[in-house]
Amino acid sequence: MIHSFFGGVFPAVQKNSTRRKPIAQLSRPPARVILPMTMSAGGCAAPLVQVGDRVTVGQPIAIDAAQRLPIHASVSGRVADIAPMPHPWGGAGDAIVLENDGLNTPWPGRPAPLDPETLTRDQLLERVRTCGVVGMGGGAFPTWQKLEQAAGHIDTLIVNAAECEPYVTADHRLLLERSDQLLRGTRVLARCLGAKRTAIVTEGDKLNAVEAVERRLRKKNSRVELYAIRTRYPLGAEKQIIQTVTGREIPTGKQPVDVKCLVLNVATVYAIQEALFKGLALTSRVITVTGGAVIRPRNLWVPIGTPLETLLEEAGGLKEPCARLLIGGPMMGFAPDELSAPAVKNVNALVALAAWEQQDSQAESVCIRCGKCVSSCPMHLAPTFIVQAMQAKDVRRLRRLHTEDCIACGCCSYICPARIPLVELVALAKEQVGKEAV
């Protein structure tokens, strides 16, 4: 049984250039790999190695004491430097720079594979933590903490393969090529966390992935439900996917666990099952390199820490000047400051938009009160009223309009015919309310 969420927009999908390309390895291993000390939200690790040490793939080289989360080396080689390096999230942070020797020697001390039938909850949490799994769908929150909060308190586990951002196909290819492993991981997670209902949500136009997964589901006769839902942005947002699968809405300030749900990105689930059944730490992930400005758009298995410029080279380089380079999709992506910044665990795509693809920078005009922003906001907000109240500095009205519910999905900015930057204005309004409350 499927519900629906209110609002949403239908941006052009633009996935044809990479949808059918299997995930490829890098043609040349990266010469250097940069591992920042901040790989999870709010985390800051301390190095365990020193300059000159030899490291192997999967060896923990830094540990975050507060979050108890290790960072592992993604290639084997020598520690070349420990210094501030550009961070893809902006600014610079301490990072360990590894020189790749190209041998990919695995770490001898890696943990043993666990048995899926006898796996206990504590074993699951411990393994997920020691293998450094964080949320790979963008949030970069330590997964073991999320699982610990949810264990025993949820009845629905949702695997989020609904990549609603245009251009990005990483999760789609992962679901298509590694369905067996994903199903195994999902079942184990559901059993350990006590979820009675498991759902994999993917978008309706990913028909070949849906067929592949359905075939495997029928073979194993499992109780995992597969939903192929028509592409509507922002289906992949946490609140919206929970509303679609279960019909429950998360009130403001609450978490998914309060409505007895847990949402995990499909790449996170893959990393969890690699950690459980092969003992491998999170050292590589799928990244889509695409965009109109790129010569050879493709999906790549990328070691964590590969510099972004290496990824662009791998895709053949730019064939025309790039109007905008984005990490993530064009709706909610962010722009890296430096191309030498590394790809960290929550980078799922690198999109180089050509000038003809990007929004033409025409000036914003007056609001014509068409109401499209109200009809498209998945959080039931009225952006045009929020902007009106903010410009009139009417804080009482702003409070009544619930600016704190905004998830900054960008639907309102996308749909506005007058090209008013609604997302930024609502963020300003949120600040205004926050200041008044103090």
Partner: protein
Amino acid sequence: MTGPVSLPRRLPPQVAPPSTTETMMLDVMIALVPALCMAVFFFGVRVLLLTAVSMVTCVLTERLYRRLRHLNDTTGDRSACVTGLLLAMSLPATADYWVPILGGVFAIVVVKQFYGGLGKNFMNPALGGRMLLATFPMLMTQWSQPMDWLPLFKVDAVSAATPMSFLHEGTLPPQTLGQLLLGQKGGCFGEVSAFMLILGGIYLILRRVISPRIPLSYLGTVAVLALLFPGEGCNPFLWMLAELFSGGLLLGAFFMATDPATSPVTPRGQVMFGVGCGLLTGLLRCHSSYPEGVGWAILTMNCCVWLLDRAGLPRRFGVSNFAVTRALLHKTRVSLGKIKFVKPQLSLLRDLREGRMPGEAHLDVIRVYAKAAGTLAAGVLVMLGVIFSVHRWTDYRIVRAETAEQQTLLSQVMPQAAFCSEAPYRANGALRITAAYSAENELMGYCVEVQSQGFGGVITMEVGVDLDGKVTGVAVTDHKETAGTGTMAMTPAALSRYIGRSGTLRTSGRNAVDAVSGATATSKAITTGVNRALSIVANLDKAEEIDYEDSET
């Protein structure tokens, strides 16, 4: 060792929006082109010239206004073109060329630019201009018939019946449904072709320029009302289709009511707006003096949009549907609960109980009040005295003037009578019944004062009926009709046509009194009043029988 790097600030969407203001306005104009072509087919090239004049006026007025006020030029967003086109399409094809100019200037300058331009006006500019023109009495009632191509200049005024006037009477229009759909009927040239307007509306909905909520709720409400209250003896389904295809309903529902600046922003508000427009249109089409109610209904709802926006805000995510209403009710209940009844201290009883004389302790206060009360009483008495004396002095003159007026009225209404006196009959619908006598004290007939609904309000008239049941004269004593047009039906020449008629007067066919051109509603009202008087006199409860036969004409 630097601290943690915070999660990055996300950029706004980097892909272009699917439509911009300019493309939306262009789509509206494209959607109106089929209807315009049909209008040219039916009414001739004059239609194109009217449209061109209207659009050019609107664009030039906006540009001139913005330049004179030293503001930026906004004609680039094409909204002035759309206003001009819509205004032109709601005019009859016989309109003079100054009509769209006047309407366009009013619409752009007063209704739109005085409030700040696009998006800030609260009333639909094209509709505001159109309705201003509708208040000009003769302007909007000249309809030409289709396939009767009009010359470019010098149009002769021909008044033909539109389907709306038939529906207003309560009968189905003579055109077939196919003709109604295609547009072979009279009316404003933009609203005749229902089929082309529906096509245009579907185009707009598919291009996501308008949302289907307002048109569907508007048309749905009108359809439901038409199904529930069809004209007498008409098939409800046919009546509903006739109502939907006639008049400016489709033009109003798809193009005027959906104007983004003047319709609600919230989805529920839009549905309520459509339903409200439909209800008001139904009410106006059945019961008002104007045959067409779409424009007035939409304008009235435009004034209520503020309320619908507030009421229609989507419910908060995560909160149940009626939580806000429940909270509001709770707040009101708490607030009203604070109002408590306090038993007043009547000091009079308290004093008596304590064994004191009333007022002893309050003599000073009473003295102050008494002074004020005394002054007031003195003033009131003086005024009463003045009124009394003025009344006394003028009473006689008033009565004499009243009698003289009565006499003049009698001479107008029943010239053969000498005097009249109040008759003891009471009838439903008669304000006053007087019996008229000749100089020899012979009963000549009865004068009845009746009322009927005219165009602008109630018309009070005095009708004289002799003992043969024939009308001897009609005089109008009070009316609210428009001077110059409605009053043409009340001239002595027009009223003298009723003399000698009896029975039930109709507007056409046997025993008919034709309506004065340009004053149809007023003429019908006077005829209704005369009919009422005739039937009252015929049914008076007395000995003599008064004939009630149709007169021979």
